[in-house]
Amino acid sequence: MEAMLKKFQQKYNKVKDNMSQWEDLQTRFVSHFRNASSIIHRFPVLQDSNNFGCLKSYHALPDKLLRKQMDSLQTIIMSMKLTLDEFSNVVGSLDKIVRDSRQLIKGASHQQLHQTIGVKPSLTYCIEGLQTLHDMHQSEYRLKSSLFTAFCHLTFKPNSDDLGALQQLLVDQPNIYKEEVDSIYNIVFPEDH
């Protein structure tokens, strides 16, 4: 039992690594999103050549500038797509951890699965916790995918309210409950408290 719990704790540490990788991806994704939004916001201003003052008739500058901004936007969107794939990899890796853990307890008796010693959690709890962490991130990944698709559509007919709403959802990560994550970790690592 004791040994088995140790093994689960190792799994949870792995999940923690995955989650911190997720955080890095999140930071990157949000910053891409912000940059892309500000380019999109700028488009109407750049499309009106009256805003160019003295540079209006300079070597087709308005056109060149618009094209260059389009290119940057495209590059950012490509990076967002890549980041999204990395999110998906994290979910895949969480999924593998859950599957491996289920493998670990194969053949354990009902009693072993539900037994708790002192403050230590039962094996069932450990498995369910891992599953919950995986599910949160999977839902969040799906949300991000849809947000990304919605965002790509918006680039052609921008509406600043919609962009703002998307950004808010993106930052909030409504499927990941920080408190729940913390409480799972508190129960699995009772000795840390």
Binding site: G53, Y58, L65, Q69, S72
Partner: protein
């Protein structure tokens, strides 16, 4: 500002007197030419870095300058709440913003001068790619330099490949191509600088507003005649910016001004004339040819 040093190389000659294209003089010329090219291209790559950092400084200076300027425009209409009880608070704030604008003008000017210097350095470098034999033919000491002694020697080793495939003119061609981009970009930057230096609010006109034809710093015309003004770009420089400049309209329209400023900053940031992919390609290809990483 550094000028490319006059390089000279010495090799002990083991060959008997020969014509410049003979195999023995080629054997001596090639290592000298290789060293020179590696040196010059590394400097070009460094210039690109210097440009990037100067341009980014300029961008933040331009941003601060614009913010200080816009604050002056908006200040009179601003509701300051309890602060309005302070005597002369708006006047004081205006003076402060004006001072900030002046400070950023000076900084931006220095940055602009840096950009000019970088382009001038690039031009000097591109003109130092050849490697000329020095001294008397047949002397046991073969020397090379990158300034020409005689008209007979083109400094290109008779057009042979210096490393594997490219001869000197090919290296020069690529250098010219990339320098052309920077020249064009410098031209745009100058326009932006002129615009940014000449914006002023109605209340506090900038002391010495500049126009297209003004020298932005002492000696600028001379510098420009070496880079921008020798290209076709010059033909389009308007005589004066009076008729199109946004700040010269009868009434300052805050929204129009801030839109124009947004455009200016985007123009500064975007560097439309620097084709990043092509620049990377030029440095990558050249780096492969001369076996130096030019990143």
């Amino acid at each position: 500002m550094e000028t490319p040093e006059k390089l000279s190389f010495q090799r002990l000659s083991v060959a008997s007197p020969s014509t410049p294209q003979s195999s023995s003089s080629t054997r001596l010329w090639r290592p000298a030419a290789q060293r020179n090219l590696r040196n010059q291209w590394s400097k070009l790559a460094a210039c690109r870095q210097r440009w990037a950092s100067a341009s980014s400084n300029g961008r933040s200076q331009a941003t601060s300058l614009i913010n200080a300027y816009l604050s002056q425009i908006y200040m009179p209409a601003m509701k300051l709440g309890v602060l309005s009880d302070f005597p002369d608070i708006k006047e004081k704030a205006l003076r402060k913003f004006f001072k900030q604008q002046e400070l950023q003008r000076r900084k931006l000017l220095i940055t602009y001068k840096d950009l000019v210097t970088i382009v001038l350095d690039m031009i000097d470098i591109s003109r130092s790619m050849r490697c000329y034999s020095k001294g008397a033919t047949g002397s046991p000491l073969a020397q090379f330099s990158n300034c020409s002694d005689s008209t007979a020697d083109a400094g290109d080793g008779g057009g042979i490949p210096v490393f594997r495939n490219w001869n000197i003119p090919q290296f020069e061609l690529l250098a010219d191509e990339l320098i052309q981009m920077f020249k064009m970009e410098l031209d745009i930057k100058r326009r932006l600088v002129v615009e940014l230096l000449s914006i002023s609010s109605e209340n506090s006109p900038v002391a010495n507003a500049v126009t297209w034809s003004s020298e932005l710093y002492p000696g600028e015309s001379e510098d420009l005649s070496r880079c921008i003004l020798d290209s076709t770009v010059t033909n389009q420089i308007p005589k004066s910016n009076l008729q199109c400049s946004i700040n010269k309209t009868t009434k300052v329209d805050g929204e129009a001004v801030s839109k124009a400023m947004e455009v200016y900053l985007t123009v500064w940031l975007s560097e439309v004339n620097l084709d990043t992919d092509r620049l990377d390609e030029i440095f990558n290809l050249t780096g492969l040819e001369i076996q130096v990483n030019l990143k």
